[in-house]
Amino acid sequence: MHIPDAFIPIGQAAVYWLIALVFIALALRWVRNEMDEEKLPLLAVLAAGVFALQAFNIPVTMGTSGHLVGGALVAIALGSPYAAIIVLTLVLIVQGVLFGDGGITTMGANIVNMGVIGGFVGYYAYQGLHGLTRNLYASAAGAAWLACLVPALVAAVELYVAGTFPLVPGIVSMGVYHALIGIIEGTITAVVLGLIAAARPDILDESVGIPSSGVPA
């Protein structure tokens, strides 16, 4: 759901950039004040993984494809939505500047959608679902599905305001496609968290709810 430059007029794009900058500043402060230095390798590896997986489009029928966004994965693994904002912002900068994947003026909107909204929805949905089910995989999959769908619906509204999409058809189409793409998001998020939990359970944030010596619940 990388919005290209042509889809949003510059004035509106600037507003999303301002919102994005506020959250980027908060995320940088989170790294400085709260992120445990032990988590640095995980943050960097997840950035590499998110970049790779975002290049891997998988067909979801109806002549459409999708790929992992990764906001939920990063936020859950590191235990903060701000981790997702850091990773998605920098990944989107590399993608936009070098590879033309997502626009430059619209990068703010993309950071808001996939980093900020994806990160917050993914993190808090995981906390809620894990509190109810105590199951890592089901909670991660459900949270990641939502963290794909909600930003897509927000993007549909942004593009309605921009004059690019009509409101209802835009929401229906973005919703249908991303409900399917969200299955990719949910599956990969659960699998990757399971892999990390098997390899180094202690490297995941305590909020994931895995005993540092034990098997994932």
């Binding site: 990388h2 290209p4 430059d5 042509a6 949003i8 007029p9 510059i10 794009a13 940088l28 790294v31 992120m35 640095l40 943050l43 960097a44 590896v45 950035a47 590499a48 993984g49 998110v50 970049f51 790779a52 997986l53 290049a55 891997f56 489009n57 998988i58 067909p59 979801v60 109806m62 002549g63 459409t64 494809s65 790929h67 850091i86 920098l90 990944v91 590399v94 936009g96 500047v97 070098l98 590879f99 033309g100 994947d101 626009g103 430059i104 003026t105 897509a152 993007a155 921009a162 690019t164 999409f165 009509p166 058809p169 189409s173 973005m174 496609y177 991303h178 793409i181 180094r200 490297i203």
Partner: protein, 115 residues
């Protein structure tokens, strides 16, 4: 439990393998956003694929800013598979370095005098 270094190296190698596989196996179908844009311009039905040559009418879109990325769609014109793999590998390593480097730099700057 594997060592921290093994985790880092293993994770990066896995990312590079996924990125390399993406060059050969990723779907070329439009993503959810592009499909929606095609629908709104009458070039696609919700449940049907668009015509292979369907292209968005950019002139009718509201954004006026244009930027030409050096490697649009993770490739360059006439590139070999090897070049495309190199581009994705470069992107993955760049993502690793900028995120790791920024976080490391902030941590170092935030704790003057500590090792």
């Amino acid at each position: 439990m594997i060592s921290r270094t093994a985790f880092l190296v293993g994770g990066v190698v896995l990312a590079l393998l996924i990125g390399t596989a993406a060059v050969f196996f990723a779907s070329g179908d439009p993503d959810g956003l592009d499909s929606t844009a095609l629908i709104t311009q009458g070039l696609k039905e919700l449940t049907q694929p668009a015509a292979p040559d369907a292209e968005l009418d950019e002139a009718s879109l509201p954004g006026s800013f244009e930027y030409e990325a050096p490697f649009p769609d993770y490739t360059v014109e006439g590139a070999s598979d090897l070049t495309n793999v190199a581009l994705i590998v470069g992107g993955i390593l760049l993502a690793l370095i900028v995120v790791g480097g920024l976080a490391y730099g902030i941590k170092r700057a935030g704790q003057p005098g500590t090792p």
